[in-house]
């Protein structure tokens, strides 16, 4: 198939994520800055070794330009609106995931197609007219590809916010509207160090699981902003405009640094309650794992999913798990959480 994707000049960018070297090649200037932004803490000028993962993103003018050929044995694994893949506005896109000859094909129809070969560590994204796309959509599609490739290399992501204090990690998993970001910011502003808004990484370290930073912009709704005076009063150059969420960098608004990789100690599943005070309800390990699985595990490759399941089980075994009944005392959350963490020392 003749395609307009092949003759455009290419540019290359290098990154390194916890020993996994990543080479990103694109043919479109529109596909550069969203990726640079997403991985700004992981940029490298050169790599010590050949890249273990290579991602190509191509700009195409129409769906017909995508050189995608599927074999008769291709089978559909899932489809939907995207809500299962995250909770950002971009995830409302209809999609279909297909498995074909060892490749995973995520078809976003009129937006584009992602072709991922996890074993080879190579992925190609074909985005239709990326110049018309919001940067957040390009970032989202790149992130989907990246996490699928990383899963094959032993780095797993989880849909959670994450912080660190004195070497102990706190994970707050959950979907939007449950108080995840609000509880996270309440801890962040009190001196907890930032690990990730939504995409921390997990790595099996033998006798335990490590929690690794994946720092990105923090997305907040107007409702969340209203709870915190420093966000309410933040100027536009710090709290960047956006819809439906605005965004800021943790270190630009708070006296915090990016946290170190650490052992997770506490996992809490928030939900908002109409009560003056927040409280924690201990959760059994099995219940916690059950709640965690939909925040992490999409079974596309059985061997990878088996390893990821074991990592999640190990994580649950090593942490204390709670349901956070998140009341109206939002700014006082550190008074509830910090003593718990200190008891664990």
């Amino acid at each position: 198939m003749t395609s307009c994707v092949v003759n455009q000049p290419m540019t290359e960018y290098l990154f390194s994520l916890y020993g996994k070297s990543v080479r990103y090649v694109t043919t479109s200037s529109f596909l550069v800055s969203p990726v640079q932004e997403l991985l700004k803490y992981f940029r490298r000028d050169s790599l010590d070794e050949s890249a273990s993962l290579t991602l190509w993103f191509h700009a195409v003018q129409s769906r017909a330009d995508i050189p995608l050929v599927m074999s008769p044995s291709a089978r559909r694994l899932s489809s939907g609106t995207g809500a299962e893949l995250g909770d950002r506005a971009e995830t409302g896109l209809p999609y279909e995931v297909i498995h074909d000859s060892g490749r995973l094909i995520a078809d976003f129809f009129n937006t584009g197609v992602l072709v991922i070969d996890g074993v080879q560590g190579r992925a190609d994204g074909y985005l239709i007219r990326p110049e018309t796309m919001p940067a957040s959509l390009i970032e989202y599609l790149f992130h989907l590809v990246l996490i699928e490739l990383l899963r094959h290399r032993g780095l797993y992501t989880i849909h959670a916010t994450a912080l660190e204090k004195n070497g102990r990690g706190v994970l707050i998993p959950g979907n939007s509207g449950r108080g995840k970001t609000t509880s996270f910011i309440s801890l962040l502003r009190s001196g907890y160090r930032y690990l990730s808004d939504d995409h921390p990484l997990l790595r099996d370290a033998g006798d335990h699981v490590d929690l690794l930073p994946f720092p990105i912009k923090i997305n907040v709704t107007e409702d969340t902003i209203a709870f915190f005076p420093e966000l309410r009063n933040a100027p536009d150059h710090l709290l960047h405009p956006g819809f439906p969420k605005r965004a800021f960098y943790a270190e630009e608004l708070y006296s915090t640094a990016i946290g170190e990789h650490c052992r997770p100690s506490l996992v809490m599943f928030p939900h908002v309650v109409d009560a003056p005070h927040s409280h924690l309800e201990p959760l059994s390990k099995s219940r916690a794992l059950e709640l965690l699985l939909p925040q992490a595990l999409l079974v596309y490759d059985q061997d990878v999913a088996r390893r990821e399941f074991q990592v999640l089980a190990k994580l649950v075994q090593q942490v204390d798990c709670y349901r956070l009944h998140f009341g109206r005392d939002i700014l006082d959350l550190p008074k509830l959480i910090t003593p718990l963490l200190e008891e664990m020392r």
Partner: protein
């Protein structure tokens, strides 16, 4: 005994249910697609072929843990009667009910010794 966040599939698998007349000849084993982990006496199972996951309570977990090493349903029944303060008939009812559910869900396989 057996909780799942997903609905059971409705297809009829009655012909695969265990035969009550040959309990001492029916061996059980987990499906190779199933990954399980025991957490404080309860077991979380993930079916890698479907992405569905399940939680077994303590009794279910004991049953699951003994669906190995060529144990027959009669062997597992004996374990339950020994470990739990329960009438043998009730233990057998619970055992057969769970095993049938697990077989229908594709989590457990049976074979004749």
């Amino acid at each position: 005994m057996f909780d799942t966040p997903h609905a059971f599939s409705s297809h009829d698998l009655a012909d695969r249910l265990i035969d009550l007349t040959i309990l001492d000849l029916t061996v059980l084993r987990p499906s190779p697609d199933v990954q399980g982990t025991n957490m404080d006496g309860e077991t979380v199972l993930l079916d890698l072929s479907t992405g569905r996951y399940y939680t077994l309570n303590q009794l279910g977990s004991v049953i699951w843990a003994h669906c190995t090493d060529g144990n027959t349903i009669s062997d597992i029944h004996a374990v339950l009667c020994d470990r739990f303060d329960v009438a043998p008939e009730r233990a057998l009812d619970d055992l057969v009910t769970l095993v049938n559910q697990l077989i229908q869900e594709g989590l457990l396989q049976q074979e004749r010794r």
